[in-house]
């Protein structure tokens, strides 16, 4: 039935477009954009097709299998489950919107799109790979272009020199885009090293001479191995997911990155990390996960509250949004740490919700910054007068981030809190709820200072609402936020089936500890 | 003793000669400052190698060693050609060919 290679199409359409862009000697901006957007549209259509065609009942569907190196068991093995579908959808929506959000880029736009498309190919690949080696390969493809995207197209921000490490500021050029780019890349690659070690340890221990996730997932790993491989994977993937204290690449990186890159990075790439922790770390190493769950959860709680408080202190618009990502990714990790059905459903859902929300945020910030060339919230005010639509979209994004029912954020956060309350440590839920309130504090404060108040300052008189293609990203993302907020079962049923399947497998291979069990 | 004298210089004699020549060449490469002088020292080392090859060829009764030596000579000539061209280039850029002035590799 599913003879058409939908997943390959989704994954490789951006790559093909990137190659085409490199090959055609055009300097036409429109042609570049049409090629890029067409490919993202192909992926979007493919994702929708897969999401609709996914049969209830769970398991991996839309399987494809192409051998690569058979002697050590490396194959291009593709397939999706409920989690994969949700994240595929998220990715294709974000990149579709992101391609539009970069429409006004002028500097080296062709190269920009090439890198962006290569990156997104990696992201798609991670979500559909059923081979750990290929998974890792795609993971690296997704991480690396970021260096150039930030280093070349980024922006620089002056950071006040202070604190005990004051002497480092000049030395490292803290705040510069090159600094942000190299910091992000180095931190994520350090994480990758941990991941690679973990993966190889699992491959070695399983002894099946196969990198297939299913084969490796069926293997039972000795407890001693799980006890160190899981933390390695958690740290490795967690760095990308913004786990405290390895989140500091995120504010600088997201603040320096150009609009579409921030959208994609905060919206999708950070999810790769969380997805890795859950899919590889927790599902495949249940004993290690159960033993370390309390650490993962406690750190996630720190992320939530700490990120929100740090966001409250920021005055730079992009930093506010970036820290809110740190806080919200904490919610994802919290859901993962609960090892409950609600928590995991919520974690996956939060990935989708936060991706859409933060994508919308960064698209808006890009719009504002594109006109003001200023990101300092204190310099703004009264923007609702000249850019009312931006104000509306910003408010919607804010509301989703603080968990307003009717928007996707609430569905996600509430499930995570439910999971946390029924998980090993119920007080996590309290911290999560507190984080949601703190989010309301800083995000509405920012919205008030930017959009409300007496008319815009004199130097911002020429502001205007989005024009033309700029609308696309905003409308698409907002529509999805509302859709997934009102009708969660569009994807929740599939997520739930998959989650339950995984948790069943876990409880069969390794009886969960009493504290981490799923209460009825 | 007489036997040795009668037999003429053996393989090891030639090898030791080549070794001494090679070492002298190494000393030259390490101690001279002028690029041309260094190239000359390199030539000495190349010659030492060629002597080795020919000596082995002689004592094994196989002309292959000579062939290699010929290759070696040709390579050395090519190397000298390119090397001197580089020297000229350096001289043109820096008005001097003192190797101590060439430390761009220092980060």
């Amino acid at each position: 039935m599913n003879s058409f290679p939908w997943l390959s199409m989704i994954v490789f359409a951006p790559l093909v477009a990137a190659v085409v862009l490199l090959a055609i000697p055009t300097k036409s901006r429109t042609t570049t954009r049409i090629v890029a957007i067409t490919s993202t549209l192909v992926s979007l259509v493919g994702s929708l097709r897969v999401a609709i065609g996914y049969l209830p009942g769970g398991g991996y569907q839309f399987r494809e299998h192409y051998p690569i190196i058979e002697s050590i068991g490396i194959n291009l093995d593709l397939g999706v489950d409920g989690w994969g579908i949700s994240l595929l959808l998220l990715t294709s929506i974000i990149i579709f919107a992101g391609a539009f959000a970069s429409w006004t880029l002028t500097q080296r736009d062709k190269e920009f799109y090439v890198l962006l498309l290569a990156l997104v190919c990696g992201v798609f690949g991670v979500f559909v790979s059923l081979d750990l080696f290929v998974f890792f390969l795609f993971y690296e493809i997704a991480v690396l272009p970021m260096y150039l995207l930030i280093g070349v197209w980024g922006s620089t921000k002056k950071v006040a020199e202070a604190g005990p490490f004051r002497f480092l500021f000049r030395l490292l050029d803290i705040g510069g885009k090159e600094y942000a780019a190299i910091k992000l890349t180095l931190m994520l690659l350090t994480g990758s090293a941990f991941i690679l070690v973990g993966i190889l340890a699992m491959y070695d221990s399983a002894g099946a001479h196969s990198f297939s996730i299913e084969t490796l997932g069926r293997a039972t790993y000795p407890r001693s191995l799980q006890m160190w491989v899981f933390p390695a994977l958690w740290l490795g993937f967690g760095t990308l997911a913004g786990v405290f204290p390895f989140h500091t690449w995120s504010p600088d990186g997201h603040a320096s990155a150009p609009t579409a890159v921030s959208m994609l990075h905060a919206g999708v790439l950070m999810k790769l990390g969380a997805f890795g922790v859950m899919r590889i770390g927790m599902v495949m190493l249940p004993q290690g996960a159960a033993s370390w769950a309390w650490v993962v959860g406690c750190v996630a709680v720190v992320n939530i509250v700490y990120g929100a408080l740090a966001a409250m202190r920021q005055t730079d618009l992009k930093y506010i949004v970036a820290y809110s990502s740190v806080s919200h990714m904490g919610v994802v990790m919290l859901g993962a740490a609960t090892m409950t059905v609600e928590g995991w459903n919520g974690a996956i859902y939060q990935m989708v919700a936060h991706g859409l929300m933060t994508g919308l945020f960064f698209a808006l910030v890009g719009l504002i910054y594109g006109q003001t060339h200023d990101r300092e919230v204190g310099n703004m005010g009264g923007f609702a007068k000249s850019m009312p639509a931006v104000a509306v979209f910003f408010t919607i994004a804010s509301l989703s981030s603080l968990g307003m029912p009717g928007l996707a954020g609430f569905v996600a956060e509430f499930q995570v809190f439910l999971g946390a309350w029924n998980g090993p440590m119920p007080w996590w839920a309290l911290a999560g709820v507190l984080g949601a309130w703190l989010t309301a504090v800083y995000v509405l404060r920012a919205a008030r200072r930017i959009f409300w108040g007496a008319g815009p300052p004199a130097r911002f008189t020429n502001l205007s609402d989005p024009v033309g293609t700029e609308w696309v990203a905003l409308v698409v993302l907002t529509a999805c936020l509302i859709l997934f907020g009102v009708a969660p079962r569009l994807i929740l049923d599939d997520i739930d089936t998959t989650t339950v399947g995984y948790l069943d497998t876990i409880s069969q291979t390794a009886p969960p500890q009493a504290s981490a069990g799923v209460r009825p | 003793m007489n036997e040795i004298i009668a037999a003429g210089p053996g393989l090891s004699a030639w090898l030791i000669l080549a070794g001494v020549l090679f070492s002298v060449g190494v000393y030259g490469v390490l101690s001279r400052r002028n690029l041309i002088a260094i190239l000359c020292s390199v030539e000495l080392m190349a010659n030492a190698v060629n002597i080795n090859l020919v000596a082995f060829s002689r004592f094994h009764g196989d002309t292959l060693g000579q062939a290699f030596a010929l290759f070696g000579i040709a390579l050395t000539v090519a190397e000298v050609g390119v090397g001197l061209a580089i020297v000229m280039l350096v001289y043109r850029q820096r008005q001097g060919i003192d190797i101590d002035d060439l430390h761009d590799l220092l980060g």
Binding site: L171, K183, R448, W452, T505, R519 | L30, H103
Partner: protein, 622 residues
């Protein structure tokens, strides 16, 4: 990996059941979804929204239709329609629905829906006149928010479980935020809006944790779940925290007076009649949970009584007519909470209903006065009686109802509360409430005397009577402010309770005290000869806003500096340590770099040294 879930989730989720022959359900859906459709229409079709007037008429028409449907629904329910619940699954867990959305129609929700839509319809019609001076796009925006509010409030009222109630609860909070901040260009409006949101959201933390605990204990969000042990007290206590925020109970009432920054009709609808009463409604709805927690009920009584007294005392010294009414609302909500705490849901709910009518009337009357003189200060209104007689009369009607003068609506409900509480033996709270009633009479009299009969103020002399769009809804509400008190029987029937009005000592006492308050007010403010400042010291203390100051310092000296510290810590310590790692490598590289002199001969030397070492190793090894 094969799925092991049950086949329950294999069937597609059911489509929302729209039975053509089920009148009750259809009426509820009309009341709920028509405003939603109006909201979506106005939100998406911006030319229509920016047309302003048209959007207003559309929205008001929808509100009236919505009220019509609710009224018909109420009549059906009164006529004996059985309670009805229709839901669709919303959240799933392990293939089973854990939370659903839908409607639950019974006496409580139907009557509340009728009240809400009635006041909403009145307020929207009123707004057509009141907002006419605003710009057209602003009017469009205003009515868009109002349509959303009716939907949200309807969703809250008709909620079949506490989760949907919570969703509606948050959405009405959103509407409140948007409408308080309606004049967003005014800094004070913006601050009031976020303050309202933050304070209620702060309280909602309790509500949401309560929901989590409820789910943790029972696996559902049903309000009639049977809780045992500590949860029997903890869950309703947590829910009550949310109520304290939404229904403005001391010390979380601070947002309500500030919320008066919004347009006056908004204050009437959201911040007097319906939204703030949502907390009371929640308690009524979830009373099966609350009644298992006697200690909580006692606390509620005291909190309610304190709020009633403190807010009433605060209202006395306000000069802003809307602030007087805002504190009055706090105070009346205190009555309701106190009543519910004493186990008297009938009394509390009855007062909610009558209060919705007369307080929205009062706000609309205040709005008419403000509309006339373009000022909120009662001293700027002096002598309005001469120029705007109809609205003055309606305002006085509302005041009499609020004060609890016999025959007027407030008398019946307040009397019922006090009577029932006295029966329950809550003597001290009753005394506080009675005293509060006296203060109520005093401050309302003060407002009326100063605003309508005082020395003529400049602006008031040229004031014009409000247009019919404003007077008509006020008249409707005026009728209810007079007559709603006689609806007690109806309400009791709906609830299956007994209610007979009878003149009791406490009722007489309250009436006497109320009249005494009126007399005192007239004496104090009506004649300038009696100058003794009854409240001199108290006035200064109240105006300094002690509770506000507490929260303000918690915000300024607690949370903000803490956030500063965290932000600083992140930037300069956590990030600093990460950067230190980078520095460490740079430092090491700097040291190692010294081996790289950049001189070719040194490299050759190293190569030869290596070769020598290799040969030596080979020889020794061999």
């Amino acid at each position: 990996m094969t799925s092991t879930t049950s086949s329950a989730d294999a069937s597609p989720p059911p489509i929302f059941p729209l039975h053509a022959d089920h009148l009750v359900l259809n009426l509820a859906l009309i009341a709920l979804l028509l405003p939603l459709a109006c909201f979506v229409l106005l939100a998406l079709v911006w030319p229509l929204r920016r047309a302003g007037r048209l959007a207003g008429w559309l929205s008001a028409t929808v509100a009236v239709i919505s009220f019509g449907a609710s009224a018909r629904l109420l009549m059906l329910v009164v006529g004996g329609e059985a309670p009805l619940t229709e839901t669709v699954g919303w959240l799933v867990r392990d293939g089973k629905v854990i939370a659903s959305m839908g409607v639950h129609i019974d006496g409580i929700s139907a009557s509340m829906l009728a009240v809400v839509t009635l006041v909403a319809a009145c307020v929207q019609v009123y707004s057509l006149g009141y907002m006419a001076e605003d710009s057209l796009p602003a009017q469009g925006r205003y009515f868009t928010y109002h349509s959303l509010f009716i939907t949200a409030m309807g969703g809250l009222v008709l909620a079949p479980n506490l989760l949907q109630l919570f969703a509606g609860w948050e959405l009405v909070g959103l509407c409140s935020y948007l409408l308080i901040g309606f004049y967003w260009a005014k800094p004070s409006a913006g601050q009031a809006a976020v303050k309202a949101f933050w304070v209620t959201k702060f309280a909602d933390m309790g509500l949401i944790v309560g929901l989590l605990a409820l789910y943790g204990a029972t696996g559902t969000f049903a309000w009639d779940a049977h809780l045992v042990g500590i949860w029997a007290t903890a869950v309703p206590a947590l829910l009550f925290m949310g109520v304290m925020g939404k229904s403005a109970q001391v010390p979380l009432h601070i947002w309500l007076p500030d919320a008066m920054e919004g347009p006056t009709p908004v204050s009437a609808l959201l911040h007097a009649a319906t939204m703030v009463a949502a907390g009371v409604y929640l308690i009524v709805r979830a009373y099966p949970l609350f009644e298992l927690a006697p200690s909580l009920l006692l606390a509620m009584t005291w909190i309610g009584a304190s709020t009633a007294l403190i807010a009433a005392a605060t209202a006395i010294v306000q000069d802003d007519i809307k602030k007087v009414l805002a504190y009055s609302t706090c105070s009346q909500l205190g009555y309701m909470i106190a009543a519910l705490g004493s186990g008297q849901i009938m009394g509390g709910y009855f007062h909610l209903t009558t209060h919705a009518f007369f307080k929205s009337l009062l706000f609309l009357g205040a709005g008419a006065a403000i509309h006339a003189v373009h000022s909120n200060d009662i001293h700027d209104m002096g002598g309005l009686w001469k120029t705007t007689r109809i609205s003055a009369l309606l305002f006085i009607t509302g005041s009499l109802a609020l004060v609890g003068v016999p025959i007027f609506a407030g008398f019946f409900s307040k009397d019922l509360i006090l009577e029932e509480m006295l029966e329950a033996g809550q003597y001290v709270p009753v005394a506080m409430l009675v005293l509060g009633a006296g203060l109520t009479a005093f401050y309302m009299t003060r407002v009326i005397v100063i605003a309508y009969f005082g020395d003529a103020a400049e602006g008031a002399e040229h004031a014009h009577e409000a247009p019919w769009t404003m007077l008509l809804p006020m008249g409707a509400l005026g009728l209810l402010a007079v007559g709603a008190g006689f609806g007690g029987d109806l309400l009791a029937t709906l609830w299956g309770q007994q209610y007979h009005f009878g003149m009791t000592p406490i009722g007489i006492t309250t009436s006497v005290i109320g009249l005494g308050g009126i007399a005192l007010g007239i004496m104090r403010y009506g004649t300038s000869t009696w100058t003794a400042d009854l409240l001199g010291g108290l006035r200064g203390f109240i105006l300094s806003g002690p509770v506000d100051r507490f929260w303000d310092s918690a915000w300024r000296q607690g949370l903000l500096p803490f956030a500063q510290v965290v932000g600083w810590f992140d930037r300069y310590i956590v990030d600093g340590l990460i950067n230190m790692v980078a520095w460490l490598f740079i430092f090491l590289a700097d040291r190692i770099k010294r081996f790289q002199t950049g001189r070719a001969q040194d490299y050759v030397f190293a190569v030869v040294l290596g070769v020598v070492a290799f040969i030596a190793y080979g020889m020794v090894g061999a």
